[in-house]
């Protein structure tokens, strides 16, 4: 019996010893198609029709925003004009004596570094006093980019901004008459300075806009009322003292905190931007809004995306079901490639680094942002900027999820895509992207679908 047990044990030992292993995880042969041939083929199809449209929105809210944008810029026959409306609170602290003498008054505006347009040109701006109260939408408590308030016919002051000056970080505009008036209120201890509502009823606010004939660029100024860099009117005076830097300031109206049962939000009621595009040189009318869309064929084979006004590009792939004619298969990748139109940008920072894609129906109603296929990560366009050869700059957008879903759905396409600038912060810029469509002579849009057929 001992020997039998021994032999059985030996047999087991040998069996386990002989279990197969390999010396290396990566032990495939790279034998190519010479040895065996995979019947699964991957086909790239770039012949699907892609229809593109520009669509606008009714309006974008522009109050509660940390940037005033002022100026006028032209790009590809579209002229964008930006104006800012705002008002001041009465000066809080001042300590004037009977011997105090008014010296000067300035409006101080701090640049925040943002610009859009031809920065080589001098920007000419005008400051007006408003003759109409700034009001907000009663329901939303917002002011929108389409809202204007009446102002005096002649500017209070004019000033210019030269963006080619690297050291320029603020603008100081003399306001002698208005400054003297405000100084006198303080000097006389006028009660209006202790009643903000009364003050704002008299000093309704200001408009800063580009001079009518000036087309240069849009400049960003700090507008966060909590920042010391926000617009203010600084009044300097002299006194019988050694201190030669006496002043007090009228600062921009603070945020008002609105507390409801559910939320507590900072609401800046009365500072807003007005944005408008003039398309008269391009199409002679505005882009349709809401469920409307204007084909790229009517706009010189380009479509527009823009912040501030929120111009977006609608993308339709009506013949997606043609993929079925290629046999049983699965979509492994779908990529939209498009190029910014040559001449509409001069440097990388002119181009948005990121674009978003939304699933929309026939009426442009939004069904959510596009994610990457097989993932919850959102899909974004990737800018491939070519410093050396600018003409080779392009965007790639992975729309695999959309094409896979439409392909598997098997019916007529129900959805389309809406590509936009990042919607978060859309009111904080007027950046513009102009892209070629499928038939653009030089900057063609391409849709590449990679299909594995079996």
């Amino acid at each position: 019996m001992i020997k039998l047990k021994f032999l059985i044990a030996l047999l087991f030992a040998l069996l386990f010893y002989s279990c197969q292993y390999t010396d290396d995880e990566n032990f495939q042969y790279n034998v190519g198609n010479d040895f065996v041939s995979d019947p699964v083929k991957v086909i790239m199809i770039d012949t699907l029709t892609v229809k593109t449209y520009t669509t606008a929105v009714d309006s974008v809210n522009t109050s509660r925003n940390d940037r005033f944008m002022i100026g006028r810029a032209e790009n590809m026959k579209v002229v964008t004009t930006c104006e800012s409306y705002f008002r001041f609170d009465p000066a809080g602290e001042y300590n004037l004596h009977s011997s105090s003498i008014f010296e000067s008054a300035n409006m101080i505006l701090n640049l925040d570094g943002y610009s859009f347009g031809d920065t080589a040109k001098i920007c000419k701006f005008e400051i007006y006093r408003l003759t109409e109260d700034i009001t907000v939408d009663k329901e939303t408590e917002y002011i929108y980019n389409t809202t204007k308030f009446a102002h005096e016919a002649t500017p209070l002051a004019t000033f210019s901004v030269d963006l080619t000056d690297d050291k320029l970080d603020s603008v100081v505009v003399d306001l002698p008459e208005l400054g003297k008036e405000l100084f006198d209120l303080a000097y006389n201890n006028d009660t209006i300075l202790s009643d903000a509502d009364q003050f704002k009823a008299r000093y309704k606010g200001f408009l800063i806009k580009p001079a009518d004939d000036n087309v240069s660029s849009v400049v960003g100024f700090v507008a966060n009322p909590d920042s010391t860099l926000s617009p203010k009117i600084k009044i300097r005076y002299q006194d019988n003292s050694l201190d030669d830097d006496l002043s007090f300031s009228f600062e921009i109206e603070k945020y008002q905190t609105v507390t409801s049962s559910t939320t507590s939000a900072n609401v800046n009621y009365y500072g807003s931007n007005y944005f408008v595009n003039d398309y008269s040189k391009l199409i002679g009318k505005d882009f349709p809004t809401g469920e409307g869309k204007l084909s790229s064929t009517e706009t010189g084979n380009v479509t527009f995306l823009q912040g501030g006004l929120n111009l977006r590009t609608r993308i339709e792939i009506p013949t997606i079901n043609n993929l079925y004619f290629l046999g049983i298969g699965s979509v492994i990748k779908a990529e939209l490639l498009f190029e910014p139109v040559k001449g509409t940008y001069t440097k990388q920072s002119d181009l948005p680094s990121k674009l978003e894609m939304y699933l929309v129906d026939k009426k442009n109603d939004n069904y959510g942002q596009m994610a990457m296929v097989g993932s919850t990560d959102m899909a974004y366009a990737v800018l491939h900027y070519n410093n050396e050869f600018k003409d080779e700059t392009y965007y790639s957008f992975d729309i695999t999820k959309f094409v896979v879903d439409e392909y598997l759905d098997n019916g007529d396409p129900k959805y389309s895509l809406l590509m936009s600038m990042p919607q978060s912060g859309i009111n904080g810029n007027v950046d513009q992207l102009i892209i070629g469509d499928q038939n653009h002579p030089t900057n063609k849009m391409k849709l590449k679908v990679y299909l594995a057929t079996y």
């Binding site: 292993y21 390999t22 495939q28 993932s375 079996y454």
Partner: protein, 417 residues
């Protein structure tokens, strides 16, 4: 009773070990096992292996020669035999630009022999018929774009053979034999196809084809004693008709997106293309000189081209072996057998204009276990398969097989414990 208890234990062990034939492990690591039913396993073990695989003309009173069913009638003094073995293989695979080393191994066979009467002997057992084990990477280009698509192929499985042999002694010099065998097993292939443009979204193709079917063999053996000093000549022959293996295959195609999202794209279950196991025939001689030296030579032919597919070609196998026959003396090393062999297998697969042939030499020893008559057969084979031409692969291998042959003396002896 004790004797039968041991038999039961041995059978239990065999049942335990049986699953290891069923594709639990890869018995091969040859890319050529992608073709046909896989890499064909040896048809005989132990002594035959060391003699280049020859065996049509071999008879031995103490060891089973399952290559020729008619030969088992030589077991005329034993009631029961049990044989099994294990093997380990080292393979160096070379393509024109790459070398790879593999180790593989497994149980080789489990065979039982029973003597029913002086003229009737039965043998049954299980062993691999073919083995599949390959890992390949191929590439192609995307249609209408200049970028690569890779495919990783993994093949596993193989066919097992459960067989029953009957040997019938017609006269002192002439025996007939037959075999019926049931083949079954799965040929499993998984392919992962992925494009370089989107490596996260591979396409998986999984096919599992289960084949089964019966095969039959008939054989004869004729022995002539040429003198009284142990010089004899044995002639044997074997014939197996064409048999069809029918199969059922399941094909699943999955499209993966990202790391954890899979779309099931395609499923098909249906009859697979049958495999024709060809008409096979062969013959051989065994010449023993004065009970001291044995020369064996076999020829075998299988008409695989019957499958009609260009990749199948007729296979011819030539086997030669020389053995120093054990002597009944007190010196242990005189009681051992010493064997050398040579085998040339023309192959049954043709690819890229080359037939995947196989040539090997073997060295072996038969080591008797003290006084029991049981034996351990150790065989070392060295060979070369395939070619490096046309992007194909050449395999050089070294294989060691240890086979055990237990006789009923071994079982009976225990009675006297």
């Amino acid at each position: 009773m004790k004797n039968s208890l041991k038999i039961i234990i041995v059978i239990c062990v065999c049942i335990l070990l049986y699953p290891s034939f069923l594709g639990a492990q890869n018995n091969t690591a040859s890319p050529y096992s992608k073709f046909g039913t896989g890499e064909l396993a040896s048809v005989a073990y132990g002594r035959n292996l060391a003699l280049g695989g020859s065996g049509f003309g071999l008879r031995n009173p103490y060891q089973l020669n399952i290559k020729n069913p008619a030969s088992i009638t030589s077991i005329d003094s034993l009631n029961f035999l049990f044989e099994t073995g294990v093997s380990g293989q080292f393979t160096l695979s070379s393509s024109s630009d790459k070398n790879q080393i593999f180790w593989s191994g497994n149980l080789t066979h489990l065979v039982f022999g029973h003597r029913y009467t002086n003229w009737l002997m039965g043998t049954y057992g299980v062993m691999p018929f073919s083995n599949i084990g390959y890992n390949l990477r191929t590439f192609q280009m995307v249609e209408s774009e200049d970028s690569y698509v890779f495919t990783d192929w993994v093949g596993t499985g193989g066919l097992n053979k459960i067989f029953y042999l009957l040997g019938l002694k017609i006269s002192k010099n002439f025996s007939l034999g037959g075999e019926v065998a049931y083949l079954n097993g799965s040929l499993v292939e998984s392919r992962k196809t992925w494009a370089v443009v989107q490596t996260d979204n591979p396409t998986y193709y999984l096919s599992n084809t289960r084949y089964s079917g019966f095969t039959y063999r008939g054989a004869f053996q004729f022995t002539a004693n040429l003198d009284k000093k142990g010089t004899n000549l044995t002639i044997g022959g074997m014939f197996s008709p064409l048999q069809k293996l029918s199969g059922k295959s399941n094909v699943i195609i999955d499209q993966q997106y990202g790391s954890n999202y899979v779309d099931s794209m395609y499923y098909h279950s249906g009859a697979a293309t049958p495999i024709n196991l060809p008409l096979t025939y062969g013959g051989g001689i065994g010449f023993t000189w004065k009970g001291k030296y044995l020369l064996a030579a076999d020829y075998e032919r299988a008409n695989w081209s019957i499958n009609g597919d260009k990749s199948y070609v007729d296979q011819q196998i030539y086997s030669f072996g020389l053995e120093k026959v054990p002597q009944n003396t007190l010196k242990y090393f005189d009681r051992c057998s010493y064997r050398v062999g040579f085998r040339y297998d023309s192959g049954y697969i043709r690819t890229k204009g080359y037939t995947v042939d196989d040539v090997r030499v073997s060295l072996g020893m038969g080591l008797p276990i003290q006084k029991t008559g049981s034996m351990v057969n150790v065989t070392l084979e060295a060979g070369q398969k395939g070619t490096m031409h046309m992007g194909l692969i050449q395999e050089k291998y070294l294989k060691m097989t240890v086979a055990f042959s237990f006789q009923d003396f071994w079982f009976i002896k225990r009675k006297f414990n």
